[in-house]
């Protein structure tokens, strides 16, 4: 079972697709949930996920607007997808039959 922040971050990485690094992931979470998670927290979570093998990272290209610094981009691994599915399934099963406003519309 993934933690709540872990789920949010994995989902955000999936939404962003290619080039998912700190800033777009932060913006995606902010846009969808209104939560202003700091970039430091996001990288912290991504590191933990990477240690568990749920995401993989590669070093991207430096750009002038970044002051010539590189990006670190993340992608969700197949294991990550499975963990996410398992996690969400667990939630669904637990919520089934309860009126918590989560029923598919």
């Amino acid at each position: 079972m993934l933690g709540e922040l872990e789920q949010t971050v994995i989902l955000a990485v999936l939404h962003v697709g290619a080039d998912a690094y700190g800033v777009p992931v932060h913006d995606e979470i902010h846009r969808r949930t209104g939560r202003d998670v700091t970039i430091g927290t996001i990288y912290k979570t991504l590191t933990r996920l990477e240690e568990k093998g749920l995401v993989a990272s590669h070093i991207g290209d430096p750009t002038p607007e970044r002051g010539g610094r590189r990006t670190r981009c993340y992608a969700v691994t197949p294991a990550g997808r499975r963990a996410l599915q398992a996690s969400i399934k667990t939630l669904r099963r637990m919520a089934a039959g309860l009126d918590v406003g989560l029923e598919p519309s």
């Binding site: 690094y21 700190g22 800033v23 700091t38 970039i39 430091g40 927290t41 990288y43 912290k44 070093i59 430096p62 750009t63 607007e65 970044r66 002051g67 610094r69 590189r70 990006t71 670190r72």
Partner: protein, 860 residues
């Protein structure tokens, strides 16, 4: 902000993180400073603290720190107040330390700098004086403890013919750089045979001058350059890192080329400085004794030539910092006081918080946490707070230091070495550690003492010990604030007095321009006088100019040109005893332009201004009193300089003028028509009385002077108000810093008093309710609160003023016309702190009055 954040992250984040995290922040910098700061702090907090597995103690501690951080997030007001307080105090300390460390503490940047010293002539009153060339040679030749030595005379040549520029330099003995232990980076050092009269056409340039004028072209070495109209060869360029503490502004050097036979090399010609490198193993004290003995022999051999009583040997490090040491130490003291107050305040906040957290600790203790374990938790929390405060402090220091540096006097030695470096960070780190321990241990030990009681009673009361501690801290804060406030008031009142000093002439609407007339067009005195006349005619035609004059030097202009004055009718037996005076060689319109009052006699006429036969002179009042006390100065005959010079008749006496600064106490001076002086000055000051705002007239005057001869450099354009501001800049800086420190201290002290009283009222709700139920009037309840505040205030004030009396002696360099025990200052401090103490009582007192008795009695 972004640069500060990047700088922090680069240093503090692990290497595998910094690059892409910083990149993200740089990319998003348009989101503003606050966003940046928040992201930076979060990144530091989350990405740094990775516990080392296997080290349980450490990982628990890091865990504690994380818990501490979470606690702080839940008490944002407490956290913000503490971080701001700590940040300002740590930042100010680091900034001041970064100035003091290279200037006062770090050894000079020369090999074996501890063997370097200045050698002076020591006067009867213990002051030191410059030294004549013959004395230098005799001392150096006879002293066994001296390895290398050099004499130094100041020199301000004008470089180049096409784009002339005046630079500051030194004429030095050939062994000057050898004595310091440095060598040119390009080319060579001076040679011994070059240090002779008539054979001194070689110059060495500073790295800065070489870059500026020759575009760092290394083929410049060996080329000829026009120096003051004479061709000279560049033989060397000093390295970029040559930090010249002997003359911080010097950019060019040529050999002295003196011989004892020269008239200006005499024993009484006190215009040289001497430096010496002692032999290895020769102690400074032994060298001082030896030079003193040699000097005593010289005094015996030449009794008429020495008024001095010995040689003064001052280690170079001590000499170059002597003028600044008291000021820097006073600032260091002030910043320490601020730091102490900040510490007291944060501890106080912690204590207030500890009262509220008593239950938490009681539960922890009941669950089996030992005292050590809980102290560890508090230490971790203190460390988190101190670390964040330290980071804020580093940012404060990074912002404050460049601002501070621009206000430092430009002749401060080692100015270039001032920046925030390892030393500054070590200071910050030490402070952080100290603060975190203090912040943990004091509240911790108090809280631990009464754990059991808390759970049983369930009441949130501060203990007696806590009350005493908090009150003591507040008293200390008030005392420290009183000391700073007294210091700031004294410095402020001194500055006010100084600016109120009568300079001896009308300072408003006065503009001055310095011109250096050199080159082939000015081969003799006549051509210079003609140039001065053309300049005066040209400036007189500029709209807004009321009158204009030419003078050899200007009061408060920073020049120094004094001549010995011999009373021809009554010459002193020892030539060393002749008084000296500032020489003003001026055009006829000078007195009227400066508006210097004429006290007796008359000023010279237009006819006398061009009369080269009958020499006249006008003297200042203090010079007249010095030469002829109780007698009439008019008609007396005096001579300036050597015995071959013309004798002059005194025709008038003017008011005194402050020449070297508003705080000058020597005001002897004399005025001579420029065509009557025995040489014509190349460097002159054009002084202009304006009817309009002088700064607005300046560009037109400048153009008018340039039009007369565009090839001459105008060295400086300044209004008299600017010159006065410059001469008081150091005092202003001290005032601004002291005022800022005192303001911060008073604010913190007010916050401290308020905190104690508010806490006390909250705890005594029941008691106060009971009192008013029993018939106490609102007035009596207000008195109850105010009495408590006033007690803190009075004890603090008394302690502070007593402490201040001990400390203000370190402020003496900043004081002018005022004693450290100035009664008005004392009164001002008492009134100001009394008022803010009462103000701090107001809110708690009102809250106490508003307590509803019935509710208060029911509440517990």
């Amino acid at each position: 902000m972004i640069r500060a954040c990047v700088w922090l992250l680069e240093r503090l984040l692990p290497a595998d993180w910094s690059d892409h995290v910083i990149g993200d922040l740089v990319e998003q910098q348009h989101r503003g400073s606050w966003w940046m700061l928040r992201q930076t702090l979060a990144a530091l907090l989350f990405l740094r603290a990775r516990p080392h597995r296997g080290d349980r103690m450490l990982s628990t501690f890091l865990n504690d720190m994380r818990i501490g951080a979470r606690h702080l997030r839940r008490a944002p007001a407490f956290a913000a107040t503490s971080v701001v307080t700590l940040g300002i105090a740590i930042g100010a300390s680091a900034a001041i330390f970064s100035v003091i460390e290279p200037v006062l503490l770090r050894p000079l940047p020369y090999p074996h700098a501890e063997r370097l010293a200045f050698v002076w002539e020591r006067n009867r009153d213990g002051t030191f004086d410059n030294i004549g060339f013959e004395t230098v040679v005799d001392l150096a030749d006879n002293a066994k403890s001296i390895e290398h030595w050099a004499a130094i005379g100041s020199w301000e040549p004008t470089l180049g013919d096409d784009t002339p520029e005046r630079v500051s330099g030194d004429r030095v003995s050939w062994s000057y750089f050898r004595t310091l232990g440095v060598q040119p980076a390009i080319g060579r050092d001076f040679l011994e045979e070059e240090d002779q009269q008539g054979h001194n056409g070689e110059v060495i340039l500073s790295h800065g001058l070489w870059q500026r004028r020759f575009g760092s072209d290394s083929s410049a070495v060996g080329k000829k350059i026009s120096v003051g109209g004479m061709p000279m060869t560049i033989v060397g360029v000093m390295p970029a890192n040559f930090d010249n503490v002997v003359s911080p502004n010097a950019e060019i050097w040529r050999v002295l080329g003196y011989e004892p036979s020269l008239p200006f090399a005499c024993r009484t010609c006190h215009h040289l400085r001497m430096i010496a490198r002692m032999k290895p193993g020769a102690s400074m004290r032994a060298a001082a004794t030896e030079l003193d003995q040699i000097h005593a022999r010289l005094e015996k051999a030449y009794p008429k030539e020495y008024a001095s009583v010995g040689a003064g040997v001052v280690p170079m490090q001590e000499e170059v910092t002597r003028g600044f040491r008291p000021a820097l130490l006073a600032l260091a003291g002030a910043v320490c006081l601020v730091l102490l107050i900040a510490m007291a305040n944060v501890v106080n906040l912690q204590l207030a918080r500890a009262v509220r957290r008593r239950d938490e600790f009681a539960i922890r203790s009941a669950l089996g946490a030992g005292r050590g374990r809980m102290t560890q938790q508090l230490l971790a929390e203190g460390l988190v707070l101190a670390l964040i405060g330290g980071l804020a402090g580093v940012i404060v220091a990074r912002v404050a230091l460049p601002v501070l540096t621009t206000y430092l006097p430009p002749d401060l030695p080692r100015l270039g070495a001032i920046h925030l470096d390892a030393g500054g960070f070590a200071a910050v780190a030490a402070l952080v550690l100290l603060l975190s321990i203090v912040m943990a241990v004091i509240p911790g030990s108090l809280a631990a003492n009464e754990l059991g009681a808390s759970l049983r009673s369930g009441r949130r009361l501060a203990s007696g010990a806590q009350h005493i501690t908090r009150s003591t801290l507040v008293v200390a804060e008030i005392a420290l604030a009183a000391m700073l406030l007294a210091g700031a008031t004294l410095v402020g009142r001194s500055l006010e007095r100084l600016l109120g000093v009568n300079a001896g002439f009308e300072t408003s609407h006065l503009l001055s321009l310095e011109v250096d007339a050199v080159g082939k067009k000015y081969p003799n005195a006549a051509s210079l006088y003609a140039y001065h006349d053309r300049v005066r005619d040209a400036v007189r035609g500029v709209p807004g100019v009321a009158s204009v004059a030419v003078t050899s030097q200007l009061p408060l202009g920073g020049n120094m040109d004094r001549f010995g004055i011999t009373d021809v009718g009554n010459p002193p037996s020892n030539p060393e005893q002749v008084p000296s005076g500032d020489r003003y060689t001026v055009t006829q319109d000078y007195l009227a332009t400066m508006k210097i009052p004429l006290l007796r006699g008359r000023w010279f006429t237009a006819a006398e201004a061009v009369d080269t036969m009958n020499h006249v002179v006008v003297v200042s009042q203090s010079l007249a009193q010095r030469l002829w006390p109780g007698q009439d100065a008019l008609g007396q005959r005096i001579r300036m300089g050597e015995s071959t010079r013309a004798t002059r008749t005194v025709i008038g006496v003017t008011g005194d003028v402050k020449h070297s600064g508003l705080d000058a106490n020597i005001t002897q001076g004399f005025y001579v028509p420029e065509r009557q002086w025995f040489f014509a000055d190349n460097a002159i000051t054009v002084v202009v009385r304006t009817s309009l705002e002088p700064a607005s007239v300046a560009p037109a005057v400048r153009r008018a002077i340039s039009a007369v001869d565009p090839s001459l450099p105008i060295i400086r354009v300044a209004t008299m108000d600017q010159l006065i501001a410059k001469s008081t800049a150091q005092r202003r800086l001290a005032l601004v810093l002291f005022a800022a420190f005192a303001g911060a201290a008073v604010l913190l002290a007010v916050a401290g008093i308020y905190g104690v009283l508010a806490g006390s009222v909250a705890e005594r709700t029941r008691e106060i309710g009971l009192r008013s139920a029993l018939g106490a009037t609102p007035r009596e309840i207000v008195a109850l609160v105010v009495r408590q505040g006033a007690r803190l205030g009075i004890v603090g004030l008394v302690a502070g003023l007593a402490g201040g009396a001990l400390l203000t002696k370190y402020l003496r360099t900043f004081l002018y016309g005022i004693g450290a025990g100035d009664p008005i200052t004392l009164a001002a401090v008492i009134v100001a702190l009394g008022a803010v103490t009462l103000a701090a009582c107001a809110v708690p007192a009102l809250r106490a009055v508003r307590i509803d008795p019935s509710e208060a009695l029911r509440s517990e």
